[in-house]
């Protein structure tokens, strides 16, 4: 106990500013939006500045488009040339809208014919987080574990590759990332005991180039001689087996259902791994590598370069799949290539993306599940009072299972040097119980009830200064924040709320400048693009759902607080505030 406290002090007392300025992200902005994160560095920063702090208040609806689906719409629309592409939740239709015509009429629609049964193994609504455009093709994943490439011009299928089996509980919900001629895709299914993986498919043929599992022996994880983790605990052979009870790694989770970033200079991809399975930690003693951590991999060979574990022996379903923003920061006077990560476990990490060293890790919200991060060993220091135990309900754990921030991505503006984090303020009661593995059924082993954290608000929108290592301002949102953020060169930040408000804030002060009420709650990712008419547009998909909105999208009964893995308790009022229904909203200055 004493050493833990000392380490905590060590971690916090180091909270002095580490950077003065931040360098520009590495993207040339031509007004298109070809990938959900806007660029390989995942900034979600648009350099368009027609819409700015002064005129955003006059933003008007330009056109709308209904997807006809009532599930959660988490995807970012893409804009390539004069076409906008929308990928919907199951049944994973692709809609291409012609932006060159008035009202953006439908150009084509692609139906991948997804197996309906896949809905039964999708843990948290049947969402899809977006497609990726590269070299005339659109790449996306289907719920039934296929990666599909379609011709962006015609909507004709080019190839499809089946990557996993729904009978094992696997699904795919993440947005692919194409880099170096490879389509990188990963699995979902951390609640079903699916052994997670990241696969690289050949961009042209769809053939699997390599696949790196998140658990198991080194050869499965693609750990070889080039693997040089920064911290000693990540060194050793076959840790993906040794840090698990026998056989458990085969059903151990670590799914790659979140975001991938890419550094073309280092030729490294960065991505996080999800929670270990089952949730009940008593069934999997050990650090459970390589779950709930971040990998840097050589994009060509898939060989791991380094790894860091955010939550060793994760207790709370704190997946490590959140996005990482790649920037260069001046630290102690020297520019360093870093990655920024608002982690689910409640800490905002600044890491050296060359070596995997944690430079800073600071709580960015209400947190009591951990006492700090020991910067010497890199290890999270759990709070013994909040440790879960099978057969016991542990109360008041903050953050809750969706973490301080879930998958919904933040944005970084090089102009303000701030990171804009849409996140949660939820705490939970957690009752671990024995989970029984039956392939294709949930492998969770926990009853959870979530509720608003201190302050009573369930969502927070924080502007975080990574240099100063503290929040510049924050906006309290009543409902959980489940949408992505967008920031533009006009110094305007956009995000949506679950009751359907689409908001624009002053990126510097956080002042609310404009808002629009959509037909359904917003959990999608806003984008900004230059239309063929030369004007800057803002677009976002509305359509409530996802884990947070499952109460509405799944028609659940909120009288059971443990419904939707406990999220229902925190969103019991949601059915009274919004209804489902996917709709694209596009805005422009008049």
């Amino acid at each position: 106990m004493r050493w833990q406290m000392r380490a905590f002090v060590l971690a916090v007392s180091a909270a002095v500013p580490i950077a003065q300025a931040c360098a520009q992200p590495n993207a040339n902005d031509d007004g298109q939006w070809t990938m959900p994160a806007h660029d390989y560095a995942s900034t979600r920063f648009s350099r368009l500045d027609q819409i700015n702090r002064d005129n955003v208040g006059r933003l008007k609806l330009s056109f709308t488009f209904s997807t006809g689906i009532v599930k959660g719409h988490e995807a970012a629309p893409l804009v390539v040339g004069s076409t906008m592409y929308i990928v919907t939740p199951y049944p994973n239709y692709i809609y291409a809208l012609d932006l060159s015509q008035d009202g953006a009429p439908l150009k084509w629609k692609y139906d991948p014919k997804v197996a309906a049964a896949a809905q039964g193994v999708a843990c948290c609504d049947v969402v899809n987080r977006g497609a990726f455009y590269s070299n005339g093709k659109l790449f996306f994943n289907t719920l039934d574990n296929q990666t599909i490439a379609v011709d962006a011009a015609t909507g004709a299928e080019v190839w499809r590759t089946k990557l996993d089996d729904i009978n094992k509980g696997a699904t795919m919900t993440m947005a692919p990332l194409v880099a170096d001629g490879k389509v990188l895709v990963g699995s979902s299914g951390g609640e079903m005991g699916v052994r997670g993986w990241l696969a690289a498919l050949d961009e042209g043929s769809g053939k699997i180039a390599w696949r790196a599992y998140s658990t198991g022996p080194d050869k499965d994880v693609l750990i070889g001689p080039s693997f040089k983790p920064f911290y000693a605990t990540d060194r050793g052979t076959d840790l993906g087996v040794k840090t698990w009870p026998p056989e458990a790694w085969k059903i151990g989770g670590g799914n790659v259902w979140g975001w991938i970033s890419y550094d073309p200079d280092l030729k490294l991809v960065y991505y996080g791994t999800g929670n270990p399975g089952p949730w009940n930690p008593d069934q999997r003693p050990g650090d459970n590598k390589w779950t709930t951590g971040i990998f840097a991999r050589d994009v060509t060979t898939g060989q791991a370069r380094w790894y860091y574990q955010f939550s060793p022996h994760d207790l709370f379903d704190h997946d490590g799949i959140n996005e990482q923003i790649l920037i260069t920061m001046k630290i102690n006077g020297k520019p360093r290539k870093v990655l920024l990560r608002a982690e689910r476990n409640g800490f905002f990490y600044v890491m050296d993306r060359v070596t995997g060293q944690v430079i800073a890790a600071d709580p960015y919200g209400n947190l009591n599940a951990a006492l700090g991060v020991d910067l010497k060993t890199g290890r999270l220091i759990p709070n013994p009072d909040k440790e879960t135990k099978q057969g016991k309900v542990v109360r008041g754990i903050c953050p809750a299972s969706p973490g301080m921030k879930d998958w919904n991505p933040m944005a970084f503006s090089p102009r303000t040097g701030l990171v804009y984090i849409p996140h949660l303020n939820l705490c939970m009661d957690y009752g671990a119980m024995e989970a029984n593995y039956i392939a294709g059924t949930p492998y969770v082993g926990a009853d959870v009830k979530m509720y608003a954290g201190p302050g009573g608000n369930r969502g927070v929108f924080t502007a975080w200064d990574p240099g100063a290592r503290k929040a510049r301002w924050e906006i309290k949102e009543d409902l959980p924040l489940w949408s992505g953020a967008l920031v533009t060169a006009g110094d305007v930040v956009f995000y949506g709320t679950m009751d359907g408000w689409f908001k624009a804030l002053d990126a510097v002060s956080g002042k609310l400048l404009w808002q629009f009420k959509a037909g359904s709650g917003i959990i999608g990712q806003p984008i900004s693009y230059r239309a063929p008419d030369g004007k800057q547009h803002i677009a976002v998909l509305a359509g409530v759902g996802g884990w947070a909105g499952a109460v509405v999208a799944g028609g659940l009964d909120p009288r059971d607080p443990t419904a939707a893995l406990g999220f229902a308790a925190a969103t019991q009022d949601l059915p009274g505030k919004t209804t489902g229904g996917g709709m694209l909203y596009d805005f422009v200055l008049p």
Binding site: P246, I251, G286
Partner: protein, 326 residues
């Protein structure tokens, strides 16, 4: 038939008959030795007092018709003093023995076991230096002689009690708590433990086999238990494996090396290496397996193993496969 079946259980445990495999008297552990010494002390003291009382009573009866309290008040004071002193002595002896017993866990590097009780079987997990060395089995515990074993005790449902009389006294397993007990075996042999707290319908059939063996033998047992299940060799065994890993069996049982990974029933990876079936209800044998799988509710009514109604061919195949799981 039942008689034959059950004497077979006992033969499964010991070649020289069963008497004493679950008994306090043939001591096989440090705790039972201490128990025996203390018991003798109590027996002697209590026996002495009993003889005193009976003697006095007999004298009183025989003395009939004689009157007077001559000497009785003095005798009374002696009696009370004697009783009190002996009780102090016994309490002290008991306390010292208890202290001694508490220290047995410190005698050498311990084997660590996590024992989880369920209605009505024992889930056994050997904890290795790192989690991947753990060994999971059920209803059978192997212990190296002369080395302490630390057992973590948990319960998944109701209160049970861990009791291997030849080795040590009881410790309850209480839901929501983790208790522990240390054993220090000092005699090689096969012993039987049994749940000692009433735990529902099949409380009577919740036994635990305890094998005390030399360190080397224990090591090789551990290694063998760590291995995955052997692959089937005959078509019949293969059919059995297919059934076990894809049908009803796989929703509850696990077999390492196959896709069956469920954990609400005993691990079957090395079931054929164990001495009994269904927590000491049947001997491990072809016949035992047939009896148990064909009609578990006839053998152990109320147990959670359901009646499945296998066809004869399926039953043959399943038994053939399970028999290979050494």
């Amino acid at each position: 038939m039942t008689r034959a079946r059950l004497s077979a259980v006992c033969v499964g445990l010991s070649t020289s008959g069963c008497a004493g495999v679950q008994s306090i008297a043939p001591s096989a552990g440090a705790h039972t030795s201490a128990f025996n010494s203390l018991f003798v002390v109590f027996l002697v003291v209590c026996g002495f007092f009993y003889l005193l009382v009976i003697g006095f009573l007999g004298a009183a009866i025989l003395r009939r018709r004689r009157q007077g309290e001559d000497g009785v008040p003095a005798l009374f004071r002696v009696w009370v003093g004697l009783v009190s002193l002996s009780l102090v002595g016994l309490a002290l002896a008991s306390w010292l023995t208890d202290r001694a017993m508490a220290s047995y866990g410190d005698k050498g590097p311990p084997v660590r076991i996590r024992l989880t009780a369920n209605q009505w079987w024992w889930d056994v997990e050997y904890l290795g230096a790192n989690p991947s060395e753990a060994v999971r089995t059920a209803n059978e515990v192997h212990l190296p002689i002369g080395r302490p074993t630390l057992i973590e005790l948990q319960s998944n449902d109701v209160i049970h009690s861990f009791w291997v009389p030849n080795l040590a006294g009881k410790q309850d397993l209480i839901p929501g708590r983790t208790e522990d007990i240390a054993l220090l075996p000092r005699k090689i042999g096969v012993f039987r433990g049994q749940c000692a707290e009433f735990c529902g319908a099949q409380h009577a059939h919740m036994a635990l086999t305890v094998v005390v063996e030399p360190e080397a033998q224990f090591r090789s047992w551990w290694r063998q238990q760590q291995a995955e299940a052997p692959a089937p060799r005959t078509p019949e065994q293969l059919a059995g494996m297919t059934y076990v890993t894809t049908r009803e069996c796989a929703t509850c049982h696990a077999i390492a090396g196959t896709t069956a990974s469920a954990s609400v029933a005993p691990d079957l990876t090395h079931i054929a290496s164990r001495k009994t079936i269904a927590a000491g209800t049947l001997p491990m044998s072809r016949g035992g397996l047939y009896a148990w799988i064909a009609d578990p509710q006839g053998v152990k009514p109320g147990a959670h193993m359901p009646y499945i109604g296998l066809e004869a061919r399926q039953l043959d195949a399943v038994v053939a496969y399970l028999e290979t799981l050494k």
